[in-house]
């Protein structure tokens, strides 16, 4: 029995917050995505797994409008503009990019403030900031410090905190565990789980499958720019199951 056949029931029931249809992206002549279809339910945490070079980062960038892309992305039913990340961000889609994209020489406080760049409401700003500093108390101790001088884990917390300052409706996370110690990774993923239970929709791109499988309600497997399987994480019991799909 193939695992794809055991696709999750939740996918069908939730109203989609995001649907991508025949999404393509290329860098020059190199095609990185060959017509990807995916659907993220409202309030769902979906993991996208795949080996290095599968096109996971490109997929997030294409949704965000940062990569040249073909196909269609709909957010709550509306078609998103192509190649206009500012407009996409304005709808409430926030990307925490690979490598975090922090402003290294700027302070933690300034980085957080830039996350809420589009927000003009002062009270709401303070509320969001309090929320982020409650989620990540360590950032509170380091508000005046340059972002680039912090540890990897703290930087990832800041990247996530900055994204939350934008008040996202859909959060796109590109390998938040990259280069982090397991304990710190655990902390961050725990926070993601919390945010998701509060109703935030999240797309989590990961290479470390076990971590993502614990949190996700559904998993897409991406390989060579194509979705090769859509899985129910509860149905994946061993590493071999996943490996089978990678190499199929």
């Amino acid at each position: 029995m193939s695992l794809a056949a055991a696709a999750t029931p939740r996918a069908g029931t939730a109203t989609p917050i995001l649907t991508a249809t025949a999404l393509t992206a290329r860098y020059g002549h190199i095609h990185a995505l060959h017509g990807v279809d995916l659907r993220i339910g409202e309030g769902e945490l979906v993991a996208v797994l795949g080996p290095n070079g599968a096109g996971k980062s490109t997929l997030l960038r294409a949704i965000m409008g940062l990569s040249a892309n073909g196909g269609e992305v709909r957010f709550r039913g509306d078609v998103l503009p192509r190649n206009d990340a500012v407009a996409v961000a304005a709808r409430g889609i926030v990307l925490v990019p690979e490598g975090r994209g922090l402003f290294a020489p700027m302070s933690v406080a300034d980085n957080l403030e830039l996350g809420a760049y589009r927000l003009r409401d002062k009270a709401e700003f303070t509320r969001r900031r309090e929320r982020v500093l409650t989620l990540f108390p360590r950032l509170k101790e380091r508000l005046g410090q340059a972002a680039g001088s912090m540890s990897g884990g703290e930087q990832q917390m800041l990247a996530l905190g900055r994204a939350l300052m934008a008040g996202p409706k859909l959060l796109l996370l590109d390998e938040p565990s990259l280069g982090l110690a397991p304990r710190v990774t655990g902390e961050i993923l725990e926070t993601l789980g919390l945010l998701n239970r509060e109703g935030l929709s999240i797309v989590l791109v990961e290479q470390k499958a076990p971590l993502a499988l614990e949190l996700a309600s559904r998993v897409y497997l991406l390989s060579l720019g194509r979705i090769v399987a859509e899985l129910d994480p509860r149905g994946i019991t061993s590493h071999d199951d996943l490996a089978q799909h990678y190499f199929a």
Partner: protein, 321 residues
């Protein structure tokens, strides 16, 4: 425990007094020139005019981390419009100056819109071309600019019968202008716009993903920078009373870049400190006669080795780039 200043948060250190040192240095230099007058006053006046230009250059290159080798074009537009309107058409200096600045900003908008799509070396090449083209126009459009001959008889700045003609008067006027420019730069740095520029400087892609309109802010910084350049160009022609193409040539690009990097790119006090140091250094080494340029070059190299982010960054809490 909580109030201990630690090495991990340099921002918390009381830096007020040390941060004032660059300004104190500038005040002493201007004060000295004011007392001595004569040649010293002329050198410092030119330095202050350069400070206006470099402050603008810093907005674009320091705050937004872009490259432009062509800001001299906007100084030329401001300078030549001031010169032609006052000397040839009898306009009073102030309206001529304002029109010069407006024209430079307009040209910057027309040129910047397509050019700012370029990045890195390509942006540098594109802007260099703007400077070269403007230089050629000032040389060839003889009916208006009088070519290499230049335009003389440009009146000093003033309103109605009150003209600033004395060395000291000019120094005071220029000091006020420079102070206003530095104040504006400091305000911009701390504003929402300034933070957006820092974000653009940090990572254009990350800034875009946060919903910051990168292209718009780059253009705005470019326009502001052009405005400062035109102001400097106009001040120059009114202070000297003469303008020729060489004034705004490639030499100006090199000198102002040196000032920006020696003073401290991205800092608020850097442009002024750099303009003063780079203007005064050659004078200090006059006694070396034939070896003057050698000594000047050696000092520049030493400065950039020991203060790679510029002199002003030595006095700022965090060398922000």
């Amino acid at each position: 425990m909580t109030i201990l200043p630690s090495t991990t948060s340099p921002d918390r250190r009381p830096f007020g007094l040390v941060g004032l040192l660059p300004w104190l240095f500038a005040a002493v230099v201007v004060g000295y020139a004011m007392v001595v007058g004569g040649y010293a006053a002329t050198v410092v006046s030119f330095a202050l005019i350069y400070a206006v230009f470099v402050t603008g250059l810093n907005l674009f290159m320091g705050f937004a981390a872009q490259v432009s080798f062509g800001q001299n074009a906007f100084a030329a537009i401001g300078g030549y419009l001031s010169a032609v309107l006052t000397a040839s058409h009898g306009w009073p200096p102030l309206p001529a100056m304002l029109l010069g600045i407006a024209a430079a900003v307009l040209v910057a908008a027309i040129v910047g819109f397509p050019t700012l799509r370029l990045k890195g070396h390509y942006l540098a090449m594109g802007t260099l071309a703007i400077g070269l083209i403007t230089y050629e126009i000032t040389v060839e459009w003889q009916s208006v600019t009088q070519g290499y001959m230049g335009i003389s008889g440009i009146p000093p700045i003033g309103i109605g019968p009150y003209e600033v003609t004395s060395d000291r008067g000019q120094l005071i006027l220029l000091s006020l202008v420079v102070a206003a420019c530095a104040f504006a730069a400091a305000r911009i740095r701390r504003s929402r716009f300034g933070r957006a520029l820092s974000a653009v400087a940090g990572s254009e892609e990350a800034a875009t993903a946060l919903g910051i309109e990168v292209a718009r802010y780059k253009l705005l910084a470019f326009l502001l920078s052009a405005g400062f350049a035109a102001l400097a160009g106009s001040l120059f022609v009114h202070v000297v009373g003469f303008v020729s193409p060489e004034v705004f040539g490639l030499h100006m690009v090199i000198v102002t870049f040196t000032m920006l990097y020696v003073g401290g790119i991205g800092t608020v006090a850097g442009p002024l400190v750099g303009a003063l140091i780079v203007s005064l250094l050659p004078e200090t080494f006059r006694a070396f006669k034939d070896y003057q340029d050698l000594a000047y070059g050696a000092v520049l190299i030493v400065l950039l080795i020991y203060a790679p982010r510029g002199l002003a960054s030595l006095f700022s809490p965090r060398g922000r780039s």
